[in-house]
Structure formats: structure tokens, C-alpha cells
């Protein structure tokens, strides 16, 4: 069957939008839509023709728990919110659980000479490690290793790493890999100075390609203290 015959395509698109195209036929048509711009266009046109029908439905305010659940699902940890502090001052709320885990990890890890001078471990709210960032102030080498970051991946978004200097605004250290091996980079003396002045790091959710402004634009998802070894 040639789905792209105009007449048939119209019929299927209308049935898809109306909802009467269902079961396997619906799935098949969804597949056609993935491949065919014409099919998507036909669907979009029917959506615009029929959706005004929804104007006739009386609005009903949903209970507050719906929004609270949504908020929880889109940003699992926002510790600094609502404290009246800029979020990058809130890093000190970093949980002890994470610190214990961090120490355990450092102790159990064979340290290769010359060992990293500074490390920061990002964890989720269940204290599962997500990224390990380690740096050496002398060589300027910075290494970012994704651990379980794949699990928190967000489609069409990027994770951006920030230094939180004691004075001044957050400074980007670039985008974080969510999988694969450690990503290494050498920091400029200027960035190193800022790192030296920073007591913590943070990760924000940004559009693909990173923050367009040079400052965090999305929610701050994770924060971690920098621990000197």
C-alpha cells in the first residue's frame, strides 16, 4: 500500500488526529509520520482544523499536587531554591551523605601519582554518583568522568559545568559528557585562578550547545564541594 497517495494520506491523517485510527494502524501511521514530512504536514493541518473543538470544553483547575509532581519530575534536586540566597551560594548545603561517599571513593581508589589535587563528586538525591570531576592546579589538567550520568540524560538538553568563585559570577567549564570515558582538558591560567577561588561546582540544564548567555539559564540540578586531597 502506498501511504503517500494524497487521498489516502488525508484520510489517515484525519483519522489519526480524530483518534479513530487506532491499534496497529495507528502505530503504522506514526511510523509513516517519522519518515514523511508530507504525512506530518497533513497531520498538523488536521490538528489545526479540529483542535478548536477543545474550546468548547469548560476549563477545570487541576489540584495543586499535579504541579508539585511535575516540578519534582523535571528537576529532582533544587536545594538552593527558596532560601533567598543566590543558588551558587547554596552549594554549602551539599549533603553529608555525598561527602561520606566521596571519601569512601577516594580512599578505595588507587591514587596514581601525581594524584589529582582537587576533586568534586556530583551525586543524585539517592547519593548515586553521576560525575567525578578532578583537576590538578599545577598542570591545569581537568578531567570529567561520567559515572551514571546516562541515567539522568535529558533529551535535547545539555549539562553544563560551572565554577562557583567566592567572588563574582559562575564561570563555565564547558559541557559534560553523559557517557564514555573521562573527558580531559587543560585549563587556561585565567580559568585556573577562578577554580582556585571556587569552593564548589554546579551543573545546570541548558539548551543543546550550552548556555547562550555565558551564565546558567536553566535549573541548577547538581552541586558539589571541591575537596582538596
Amino acid at each position: 500500500m502506498n501511504y503517500l497517495q494524497a487521498e489516502l494520506l488525508e484520510h489517515l491523517a484525519a483519522g489519526y488526529v480524530l483518534g479513530t485510527l487506532q491499534g496497529r494502524a495507528r502505530l503504522r501511521f506514526e511510523r509513516v509520520m517519522m519518515d514523511s514530512y508530507k504525512a506530518r504536514q497533513a497531520v498538523w493541518a488536521w490538528e489545526q482544523r479540529l483542535t478548536p473543538m477543545a474550546d468548547t470544553v469548560s476549563p477545570v483547575t487541576p489540584p495543586g499536587r499535579v504541579w508539585r509532581n511535575i516540578e519534582r519530575r523535571i528537576a529532582p534536586t533544587l536545594p538552593a531554591r527558596g532560601l533567598g540566597l543566590p543558588w551558587w551560594r547554596g552549594w554549602s548545603l551539599f549533603s553529608t551523605a555525598c561527602l561520606i561517599l566521596l571519601v569512601a571513593l577516594v580512599v578505595l581508589r588507587p591514587v596514581q601519582p601525581p594524584g589529582p589535587d582537587q576533586i568534586a563528586l556530583f551525586s543524585n538525591e539517592k547519593a548515586q554518583p553521576l560525575w567525578l570531576v578532578s583537576g590538578n592546579l599545577e598542570s591545569g589538567r581537568l578531567s570529567i568522568k561520567p559515572i551514571n550520568a546516562e541515567a539522568v540524560r535529558v533529551d535535547n538538553k545539555a549539562f553544563e559545568l560551572w565554577m562557583l568563585p567566592a567572588s563574582g559570577q559562575p564561570r563555565s567549564l564547558g559541557l559534560l559528557p553523559v557517557s564514555g570515558s573521562a573527558q580531559e582538558q587543560i585549563l587556561s591560567p585565567q580559568l585556573l585562578a577562578i577554580l582556585q577561588d571556587s569552593a564548589g561546582l554546579a551543573i545546570s540544564l541548558e539548551p543543546e550547545g550550552g548556555s547562550p548567555t555565558g551564565l546558567p539559564t536553566g535549573p541548577v540540578l547538581y552541586q558539589a564541594a571541591i575537596v582538596e586531597l
Binding site: L18, E47, T56
Partner: protein, 181 residues
């Protein structure tokens, strides 16, 4: 209506950039309408809450995929919610499970042909729906707003499947011709 669209567009743009406040404002502005749509299709409060929640999480992650070919922002949001509700409705079988709680929200349902609260966009569609014969209009409205499937329509309007299908097909063809005039 146009101002609404411009306003919603800027909130959606903020959402696409990860701005939680813009997303909260988008929810504030549209959730009552979208919850109404969920309730109308699902007729069950708990299910409608689940669907609304899932739909908004999806909107958060996919906000950047909106573009003008998809119609107004409100149209786009409504389609996301409707498809999600239809999927939910058809995943949950037997349908009786939902019908048991039918009474719970039935009082909030509008009559199927009550166009009293029509917005500007609805006017064009409303005029064209009026041009259809009663049977054609009824099956189209029931499937769009209440998510009835072919077999459910057959039961509801007490007519054979072939007849129901041809009402839908002809009704949609006339609608399209009328809207393009």
C-alpha cells in the same frame, strides 16, 4: 487571542531554554483548559491528573520542538494532551473500569453540541460543523472530544460500522472543504 498566542509563545520559548518560571507561568495559563480536555476524554479524575502531569513533563522536555506549522501554542499543547489521553484510554482495558467512575465528573461535561463558550478560532470550525448533517457532526464530535472508537461509536449512535465510517469520512471531507473556503 493573538496576544494570548504571543504571550504563550514567549513562555514556551523560555521553557525551551530551561526557565522554570516561564514553565510555571505556562502551566498556570493553560492547565485548566487542558485538564478540562483530559477529564472530558478520560472521565476519571485520577487518570486525568496522571495524563496532565505526563503531558507537562513531556512539554518541558520537548518545548523546543514547537514550530509555527503546528498551529498556535495552545493548539500544540492541546494535541499533546489529547494524544496522551487517547493512549491512556486505550491502554486501560476493559473500558468498564473507567465507566464505573463516569458519574464522578459527568456533571462537569458539556453537552456535545454546546458551542456557547466558543473562542474566535472555534467560530470558523463551528460554522463548518453546522453545515454537516446531524449524524456526521455527532460522530466527529464524539470521537474528537470523548475519544470514542469506531466500535464505541457504533454502540452509542446505534448504527452499523459501515455507516458510521462513511459519516466520519464524508463529514471530515466537507469540513475540510468548508474550512478552506
Amino acid at each position: 487571542m493573538l496576544n494570548d498566542h504571543v504571550e504563550l509563545q514567549s513562555l514556551l520559548q523560555g521553557t525551551a531554554r530551561g526557565d522554570q518560571d516561564a514553565f510555571a507561568a505556562l502551566y498556570q495559563a493553560t492547565s485548566a483548559r487542558l485538564f478540562g480536555v483530559c477529564l472530558r476524554i478520560l472521565r476519571n479524575r485520577a487518570a486525568a491528573e496522571d495524563v496532565l502531569q505526563d503531558a507537562f513533563v513531556k512539554i518541558w522536555h520537548h518545548a523546543s520542538e514547537y514550530h509555527s506549522e503546528r498551529g498556535t501554542v495552545l493548539t500544540w499543547l492541546t494535541t499533546i494532551v489529547r494524544y496522551r489521553a487517547l493512549d491512556y484510554l486505550r491502554r486501560v482495558k476493559p473500558e468498564d473500569e473507567l465507566d464505573e467512575q463516569h458519574e464522578e465528573v459527568v456533571s462537569e461535561r458539556d453537552g456535545p453540541f454546546d458551542w456557547a463558550v466558543s473562542g474566535a478560532e472555534m467560530e470558523g470550525l463551528s460554522l463548518c460543523l453546522d453545515e454537516l448533517n446531524d449524524s456526521q457532526r455527532q460522530v466527529i464530535v464524539l470521537s474528537f472530544l470523548e475519544g470514542l472508537t469506531h466500535p464505541e461509536l457504533v454502540k452509542r449512535v446505534q448504527s452499523p460500522l459501515g455507516t458510521v465510517k462513511s459519516w466520519i469520512r464524508r463529514g471530515l471531507q466537507s469540513l475540510r472543504r468548508c474550512l478552506e473556503r
